[in-house]
């Protein structure tokens, strides 16, 4: 084999190897998606709370401490519902089971399905707000003009960091697009 042919073969081998690197980097980009979710779950980054109910644990109420829990309710653009919290805030003791209500009203003449997405701030408190029951666990379908009172039961974990004296639980209602059915998490 001539020198040129040897070199051209070596070039092609290295180029293919680098192409493999490109493919790996592309895959890594998609791998970052589940990785990001895991990191958010572990750290409570972005105020993500668990999407499912926690089991009722032993509840020892820490009456020496009072925490303010504030509520925010919002509807996203394209969601023609009226959505409000029954009360702007409640004072709770860590470990105590609290139930509050949110009211939602379909203001249109058609049946609409919505999904509420919760967020807790500050982020480091997110994993300490444990929901026993929540309307955000599943999609809500409202008939035209229907009004619904929806409960949320939660416990503020007693391991809540000492420097957190107030936390905010916010819900955003999104219209569930029939075409965009799939849910990722």
């Amino acid at each position: 084999m001539s020198d040129a042919a040897v070199r051209s073969q070596a070039n092609r081998r290295l180029a293919l190897r680098l192409l493999g690197g490109v493919a790996a980097a592309f895959a890594f980009g998609f791998l970052l998606v589940p990785l990001y979710d895991v990191i958010c779950d572990v750290t409570g980054l972005n105020g993500k709370t668990r999407g499912t109910a926690v089991a009722m644990a032993e509840t020892q109420v820490d009456t020496s401490r009072t925490v303010q829990v504030e509520f925010i309710s919002a509807t996203m653009p394209g969601m023609p519902w009226e959505f409000s919290a029954g009360q702007p805030r409640v004072s709770v003791h860590p470990g105590e089971i609290t139930t509050v209500h949110f009211r939602v009203r379909n203001m249109t003449a058609s049946t609409i399905t919505g999904q509420a997405v919760p967020s807790v701030s500050p982020g480091k408190a997110a994993s300490h707000l444990q929901k026993l029951d929540c309307f955000c666990f599943k999609q809500q379908t409202l008939a035209p003009g229907e009004v619904r009172d929806m409960p949320v039961s939660f416990i503020v974990d007693r391991r809540l960091p000492d420097d957190v004296s107030a936390l905010t639980l916010s819900y955003s209602f999104f219209a569930v697009d029939a075409a965009a059915g799939g849910s990722r998490s």
């Binding site: 180029a15 680098l18 980097a25 592309f26 980009g29 996203m76 480091k124 965009a180």
Partner: protein, 537 residues
């Protein structure tokens, strides 16, 4: 590919200088010659530089006075984002690739790039990509469609998931430009690793090759991540996925992580080739050997490695645990250490040298000072506490123009003036070159220095209107921007006339203090050079 190099080999047996093959347009369409392709890259870059500049001059015209005068906010939003995309992907990156094509084979004693056909492909993806990127904006002026990409160059959702066609066009264009630069990078890596002249060890490589090698590795590692992110954006927009939609369990912040995982290394992708050839210019005009070659090489490697682990400093204010903030702050600041080594070596290279101040040297010295300001203001932004105030203000705009215009564009211009006589065989007009430098340096500062002040005072970026107290500084900035834009016409004139053969003949060495293999060839170099390869002792 093998046939490509075989064909090149056959050529070598004929007359060295004679150019066989098609002429006219077909020559440029089908060329696999690294010098032809390098020329096309550089020309494409210059055209897109002028287009990107015009886009932003209309923005500056609107910002001359508060209130909305000539540009409606919808158009304003398109212009700022397209300006950035054009300048980064269609002007700066192709300029660097153009230099790589022209100079790497000459500098390392290779007959051509390793993969000539891939090289041709890499270039010819760019003109369609540029067209696709800008077409929606042009159609918009004729009342067709919803306009160009209007979510800024960062394309953050949910803005970009709600926006019109322009985003889809931008995504397609970015894919093409990404494929093009990945091809170019593969070619550069293979060329540098496999095609060096006998005896040229890695530690004898020209600094430019080291800079480009790091850039190429970064491109290979990060462009695919961007491709993934914008693909997810596309499927979110049209195919019902929820990667970035909170309603479906996704997270818009995720896009920021993916984008900046590419976006931060991108900054270094643009600058590493320039940090590569600036030392060559300095050693030439200081008539002294480059100071600290090894230190510079390892600094480039360090910077490339650090650049992929600091991305989140672009969105400190999006919400992060304190530990993450601290990590990204300290890692970002640590980049200033290898960069300080580079600055030290550059200054030590010219220290007590017998300097002369031809245009390339002026640009290189201007680069050191102005890029230094860009780097130092970057340290301010890296401070989490300070960033809370400066984030998304004009301070950021001023900062990255000091790095990317003074560091990027002026660096490229230093390279153009340095190598233009070698590439064309003719000297450019030195008087015009010097005038170009001084006009550029002064009007650049006139444009961007006031933006530091309005940014500190709280003027937000990307907004077509502003509070009255910012008026004077914005007027100065606009006047500076137009002076800056018009000064570039001198550059275009100078380059074009030199290319067309005006100006005295350049000698082989061109400059007095040149070292390096490219200066041993004639000016302009023969169509096929370094065949057989030189032997380095």
């Amino acid at each position: 590919m093998s046939t490509g190099s075989a064909a090149a080999h056959d050529h070598a047996h004929h007359d060295h200088d004679a150019h066989h093959g098609p002429s006219g347009l077909a020559r440029w369409l089908f060329t696999t010659n690294h010098k032809d392709i390098g020329t096309m890259y550089l020309m494409f870059s210059m055209i897109m530089f002028l287009i990107g500049g015009s886009l932003i001059l209309s923005v500056r015209a609107e910002l001359f006075q508060p209130g909305i005068q000539i540009i409606q906010p919808e158009l304003f939003n398109q212009l700022i984002g397209l300006h950035a995309l054009v300048m980064i992907f269609a002007a700066l990156m192709p300029a660097a690739t153009g230099f790589a094509n022209w100079m790497l084979p000459l500098q390392i004693g290779a007959p051509d790039m390793a993969l000539p056909r891939l090289n041709n492909w890499g270039f010819w993806l760019l003109p369609p990509a540029g067209t696709i990127l800008l077409m929606p904006l042009v159609l918009y002026f004729f009342g067709i469609g919803t306009g160009g990409a209007d979510a800024g160059w960062t394309l953050y959702p949910p803005l970009s998931t709600q926006s019109g066609w322009g985003i889809d066009f931008a995504i397609l264009a970015l894919h093409l430009m990404g494929i093009s630069s990945v091809m170019g990078s593969i070619n550069v890596v293979v060329t540098i690793l496999n095609m060096r002249a006998p005896g040229m060890t890695m530690m004898k490589l020209p600094m430019f090759a080291w800079g480009w090698l790091m850039t190429a590795f970064l491109l290979i590692a990060t462009i695919p991540v961007l491709a993934g992110a914008i693909t997810m954006l596309l499927t979110d927009r049209h195919f019902g996925t929820h990667f970035f939609s909170a309603a479906g369990g996704g997270d818009p912040i995720l896009f920021q992580h993916l984008f900046w995982f590419f976006g931060h290394p991108e900054v270094y992708i643009l600058l590493l080739p320039i940090w590569g050839f600036i030392p060559h210019i300095l050693e030439t005009f200081a008539r002294k050997p480059m100071y600290g070659y090894k230190a510079q090489v390892w600094s480039l490697v360090c910077i490339a490695a650090l650049s992929v682990i600091v991305w989140a400093h672009h969105f400190f204010t999006a919400g992060m645990p304190v530990q993450a903030l601290l990590y990204f702050m300290y890692s970002t600041m640590s980049i200033s250490l290898p960069l300080a080594v580079l600055f030290f070596c550059w200054i030590a290279t010219i220290w007590r040298g017998s300097m002369t101040f031809e245009t390339p040297m002026l640009f290189a010295l201007g680069f050191i000072i102005l890029f230094g300001i860009g780097g130092l203001t970057g340290l301010v932004l890296a401070d989490v506490a300070a960033d809370a105030q400066y984030h998304h203000s004009y301070f950021v705009v001023a900062h990255f123009h000091y790095t990317l215009f003074a560091g990027g564009i002026m660096g490229v211009m230093a390279g153009v003036y340095y190598w233009l006589p070698k590439m064309t065989g003719h000297m450019y007009n030195e008087k015009l070159g010097k005038a170009h430098f001084w006009l550029t340096a002064i009007s650049f500062n006139l444009t961007f220095m006031p933006q530091f002040f309005v940014g500190l005072a709280g003027m937000p970026r990307r907004i077509p209107d502003y509070a009255l107290q910012f008026t004077e500084f914005n007027m100065i900035s606009t006047i500076g921007a137009f002076a800056l834009g018009l000064s570039q016409l001198i550059f275009v004139y100078n380059v074009v006339t030199t290319w067309r053969g005006k100006g005295e003949k350049a000698s082989d060495g061109v400059w007095e203090g040149t070292k390096g293999l490219e200066w041993q060839l004639s000016s302009p170099p023969p169509h096929h050079s370094w065949d057989p390869q030189p032997v380095i002792k």
